[in-house]
C-alpha cells in the first residue's frame, strides 16, 4: 500500500516541500469531505434530477453548517458553564412542552432567563468565568463570523455569476453550455434531450413568425390580471400582518400561520412559447412570497421589541424565546405538510384522478425561500434561546431526509429553464440582505436600547445588555497590562470619528473601483469592434488576393506586373493577419488587462 501511495503521489503531484504541505492540507479536506455521509446522496440526486434541484440540497447543507457551528459554540461557552452554576428546576415535565416551549422548559438552559449573571468559579481563588461577558461575546463573535462568511460567499458568487442580461447569447449558450453532465440516469438523460428539443423547436417557431403583437384587448386583459394579482397579494400580506399584530396584542397563543398558504398559488396554464413570460412570472411569485414573509417577521419583531420588552412581565426575553421556538416548530411542521400536499398528494392526483397533470416538479424557489425564512427565525432567536440552533439543526436534518425521499418518489426532473447560478446568487443575496442584516438590526436594538428584565437572565439589573461590556472596560482601566484594550475600545470602537473616517475611505475606494469598471467596459467594447473589423479586413484581403492570383494566372503570359501586385497584396495580408493574431493574443493574456478582457463583460 505504501508503494501505491508513493507511486501515485509521484504521478499525481510533483515533489517539493511546498507541495507536501498542500498534499497534507488536501488530504485532510478530502477525508473530511469523505466523512460527510451525503456525498453519495447528492450524487444520486444530481444524477437523476440535475444541477438545479441539487443546488437546493447543497444550500440546505450549507445552512446546516451555520447552525452546527452556532450550537457548538453556544453549548461550549454558555451552556456548559451554566450547568456548573445551575439552580434546581421546580417545574414538572409534561409532553405538551415540546409543542409550546413553555412550562418545564422555562427554567432550563433552553432560554435566556435561566442563565445566571454571576461570575462562576468552582475553586476558590482560581480564574473565574464571567457569564455576562461570555454571553455577549459568544453571540457577538458568532454574528461577526457569519457576516464575514456571507459577505465573502456573496462576493465570490457575484464575481463569477453576474452576467449582463442584455449580453447573453441565448441560443448558442443553450446549445453548447447547458448540457448537464451530472445527469447519469438513462431516463433523466432522455428527458433532458426531450426538453432541449422542445426548447429548440419553440425557438425556431419564434424565429419564423413575427414578434407577437398582442391586440389591445389582450394587453388590457394581461395588465388587469397582473394588477389584480398584485393587489390581492398585497392585501393578503397586510391582512396577515394585521391579524398577527392584533392576535399577539390580545395574547392569544394561536398564530395565523395559515397566511403562508397564500404562497400556494395555482399557476394558470400558459400558451406555448411563453418561456420568457414564465420566468418573469416565477420571479414575481417569489417576490410576493418574500414580501409576505418579510412583513410578517417585521411585525413580529416590532411587537416583541416594543410591546413585550416594555411590558411589566417577569422575564420578557424568555417570552420572546418561547414565541420564536413556537414559530420555528410551526414552520417546520408546515414545511413537512407542504411536502406532503405539494408533492405526495399531487402525484396521487396526477397519476390516478387527472392524468393530464402528470408528476409534480420540485419547486426549488419556494423551498429555498422556506429555508431562508427558517434560518432568519433561528438567527433572531439565538440571543433569546441559545440552544435554538441545535433544534433547527435537527429540523434541517429531518427536512433534508423528507425532501430527498419525497423527491425520489414523487417528482420528475424539471423541464422549466432554471438559471441555477444566477438564482443561487440571488438567494444568497436574499439571505444576506433582508435576512441577515435585518437580524443584525434587531439584535442591535435589543443589545443597545432595551432594558433587560430585572429578575432573570445574565444581564439582570443592568440598564442595557451592552452595559456589561462598558463595565468590563471600566474595570480593565485599573490594570496597566490591559491599557491597550481600553485604548482600542475608547478610540476605535466607541468613537464616531473613527467610523466616519472608515466610511469615507470605503466610499472613495468603491467610487474608484466603479470608475475602473466603466473604463474597462469601454475598452472591452473597443477591442470587440477591433476584432470584428480585423476579421472583415482579413476576409476582404483574402478575396482581393484570390482575385489577383486568378488574374495573375490568366495574364501570366503578359509579364511580371502581376507578380508585383500579388506581392504587395501578400504583404498586406500578412500584416493584417499579424494584427488579428496580436489582438486575439492580447485578449487571451490573463495579466494584460486583468483577467483578460473576456472575463470582464459585466
Amino acid at each position: 500500500a505504501e508503494d501505491l501511495v508513493g507511486s501515485l503521489a509521484n504521478s499525481c503531484l510533483s515533489s517539493s516541500s511546498l507541495q507536501s504541505f498542500r498534499r497534507f492540507g488536501n488530504t485532510l479536506t478530502e477525508h473530511f469531505h469523505q466523512l460527510q455521509p451525503w456525498h453519495k446522496t447528492l450524487k444520486i440526486i444530481g444524477a437523476e434530477f440535475g444541477t438545479s434541484v441539487l443546488s437546493y440540497f447543497i444550500f440546505l447543507k450549507w445552512l446546516l453548517n451555520f447552525n452546527i457551528f452556532s450550537f457548538l459554540i453556544n453549548f461550549g461557552f454558555i451552556t456548559i458553564p451554566q450547568f456548573l452554576a445551575a439552580e434546581p428546576n421546580n417545574l414538572s415535565f409534561t409532553g405538551l412542552e415540546l409543542l409550546t416551549g413553555a412550562g418545564y422548559f422555562q427554567q432550563t438552559v433552553l432560554y435566556y432567563g435561566s442563565y445566571t449573571n454571576a461570575t462562576i468559579s468552582k475553586v476558590e481563588n482560581s480564574a473565574s468565568y464571567n457569564m455576562q461577558l461570555a454571553y455577549i461575546f459568544t453571540v457577538g463573535t458568532y454574528f461577526v463570523i457569519c457576516f464575514l462568511i456571507l459577505l465573502f460567499s456573496m462576493a465570490r458568487l457575484f464575481s463569477r455569476n453576474f452576467v449582463n442580461p442584455q449580453a447573453r447569447s441565448v441560443n448558442a449558450s443553450k446549445l453548447l453550455c447547458t448540457w448537464d453532465f451530472n445527469i447519469t440516469n438513462e431516463k433523466a438523460v432522455k428527458l433532458q434531450q426531450k426538453n432541449l428539443l422542445t426548447q429548440i423547436k419553440e425557438g425556431l417557431t419564434e424565429l419564423n413568425k413575427e414578434v407577437q403583437n398582442f391586440s389591445v384587448m389582450e394587453r388590457v386583459v394581461r395588465f388587469a390580471t397582473h394588477l389584480i394579482a398584485w393587489v390581492a397579494s398585497l392585501a393578503a400580506a397586510v391582512a396577515a400582518c394585521a391579524g398577527v399584530y392584533f392576535l399577539s396584542i390580545n395574547n392569544l397563543k394561536v398564530r395565523p400561520e395559515f397566511a403562508f398558504f397564500h404562497t400556494v398559488v395555482v399557476l394558470p396554464s400558459l400558451p406555448p412559447g411563453m418561456d420568457q413570460l414564465l420566468v418573469q412570472l416565477l420571479f414575481l411569485l417569489l417576490f410576493r412570497n418574500i414580501i409576505l414573509k418579510i412583513s410578517i417577521v417585521g411585525i413580529l419583531c416590532y411587537y416583541w421589541l416594543n410591546i413585550v420588552a416594555t411590558s411589566e412581565s417577569q422575564c420578557w426575553e424568555t417570552l420572546v424565546g418561547q414565541d420564536i421556538y413556537r414559530l420555528v416548530l410551526v414552520d417546520f411542521i408546515f414545511c413537512l405538510l407542504g411536502s406532503f400536499f405539494g408533492e405526495f398528494l399531487r402525484r396521487i392526483i396526477g397519476t390516478t384522478v387527472c392524468v393530464s397533470l402528470g408528476l409534480p416538479e420540485f419547486d426549488i424557489g419556494r423551498n429555498v425561500l422556506d429555508l431562508i425564512y427558517a434560518q432568519t427565525l433561528t438567527w433572531i432567536g439565538i440571543l433569546f434561546s441559545p440552544l435554538l440552533p441545535g433544534i433547527q439543526m435537527i429540523a434541517f436534518l429531518i427536512v433534508f431526509f423528507v425532501k430527498k425521499v419525497s423527491l425520489m418518489r414523487n417528482c420528475q426532473p424539471p423541464c422549466k429553464v432554471w438559471r441555477t447560478a444566477q438564482m443561487m446568487t440571488s438567494f444568497i443575496f436574499l439571505l444576506f440582505c433582508p435576512s441577515f442584516l435585518g437580524v443584525l438590526s434587531v439584535i442591535g436594538v435589543t443589545v443597545w436600547r432595551l432594558k433587560p428584565s430585572e429578575e432573570c437572565g445574565p444581564f439582570r439589573g443592568l440598564p442595557s445588555m451592552y452595559a456589561a461590556v462598558a463595565e468590563w472596560i471600566q474595570m480593565l482601566e485599573s490594570y496597566t497590562a490591559w491599557k491597550w484594550v481600553v485604548w482600542i475600545y475608547h478610540n476605535l470602537i466607541s468613537s464616531e470619528l473613527f467610523f466616519f473616517i472608515i466610511s469615507t475611505f470605503v466610499l472613495v475606494v468603491t467610487y474608484l473601483y466603479w470608475q475602473i469598471i466603466q473604463a474597462r467596459r469601454t475598452m472591452t467594447k473597443l477591442l470587440h469592434n477591433q476584432i470584428i473589423n480585423a476579421g472583415k479586413d482579413k476576409k476582404f484581403l483574402l478575396q482581393k488576393l484570390q482575385k489577383v492570383q486568378r488574374s495573375k494566372r490568366s495574364s501570366s503570359a503578359l509579364g511580371g506586373r502581376g507578380q508585383q501586385v500579388s506581392l504587395t497584396a501578400q504583404l498586406l495580408l500578412f500584416n493584417c493577419l499579424v494584427q488579428v493574431h496580436g489582438v486575439l493574443q492580447l485578449c487571451k493574456q490573463p495579466a494584460g488587462l486583468g483577467k483578460g478582457c473576456a472575463s470582464n463583460f459585466i
Binding site: 510533483s14 452576467v163 446549445l175 447547458t178 447519469t184 432541449l196 470584428i532
Partner: protein
C-alpha cells in the same frame, strides 16, 4: 497559427489535485479490469483500457458525448485510456478545475473533426447528439446558423477557442453543468 493540441503546462499544474481523489479514481480504474491493471504502479506499466470498458462506467454510459470525451482525453485520440488519461479526465470534470481549463476541454469535445475550430458540421453533429436525431436537416441547419451568428466574434464562419471562451464567460451555469461527480 494552429492552436497547440495540449494546453500549456502552466495551466495544467494549476489544477489542485488531491491524493485521496487520485486514490479513489485509481480504484475505479482498476475495478473496470482488475486482471489488466496491477496494484503496483512504481515501474509505470503501460496499461491501456479499451474504450468499451471506459464507456460502460455508470457515470458515462448514458452520456451522449461519452465517445468524444474518451477520445479527447485519450493519448492517441482513439478512446483507449491509460491511468494518466483517466485521472486527467476526471480531474478536469471535477468541481475544482478552473473555468478556462474546462472551456478548453469542452471546446475539444465539441470539435468533432479536430481542426481546432467548431465549424457548422461539428455543430450539426452536436445538435444531433443533444436531440437524439429528432430534428429535420433544415431545422438543424437553421439552429447551427443562429449559433454561429451569435457566437462568432471574428466573423470567419466558425467558432474558435476564443469565441467559445467568450461565450462561456457569459454562461455562469457552465461550471456546475460541466461536472461529473465520482
Amino acid at each position: 497559427m494552429r492552436w497547440k493540441s495540449k494546453p500549456p503546462c502552466s495551466q495544467k499544474s494549476q489544477e489542485p489535485t488531491s491524493l485521496s481523489l487520485c486514490l479513489r479514481l485509481f480504484h475505479r480504474y482498476r475495478d473496470l479490469a482488475p486482471q489488466l491493471v496491477p496494484l503496483d504502479y512504481t515501474d509505470k506499466p503501460a496499461v491501456t483500457l479499451p474504450y468499451e470498458l471506459i464507456g460502460s462506467m455508470p457515470e458515462l454510459k448514458d452520456n451522449p458525448f461519452r465517445q468524444r470525451i474518451a477520445e479527447v482525453f485519450s493519448e492517441h485520440g482513439d478512446g483507449n485510456m491509460t491511468l494518466d488519461d483517466f485521472l486527467d479526465m476526471f480531474s478536469v470534470l471535477s468541481e475544482m478545475a478552473p473555468r478556462d481549463l474546462k472551456a478548453y476541454y469542452a471546446f475539444k469535445i465539441y470539435d468533432f473533426n479536430n481542426d481546432d475550430y467548431i465549424c457548422k458540421s461539428d455543430l450539426e453533429k452536436t445538435v444531433n447528439k443533444l436531440t437524439r436525431n429528432e430534428l429535420t436537416p433544415e431545422e438543424i441547419s437553421l439552429v447551427c446558423e443562429k449559433v454561429i451568428y451569435e457566437a462568432d466574434v471574428d466573423n470567419d464562419g466558425k467558432l474558435s477557442l476564443a469565441d467559445f471562451q467568450h461565450m462561456i464567460v457569459r454562461a455562469p451555469d457552465f461550471l456546475s453543468t460541466f461536472h461529473i461527480r465520482i
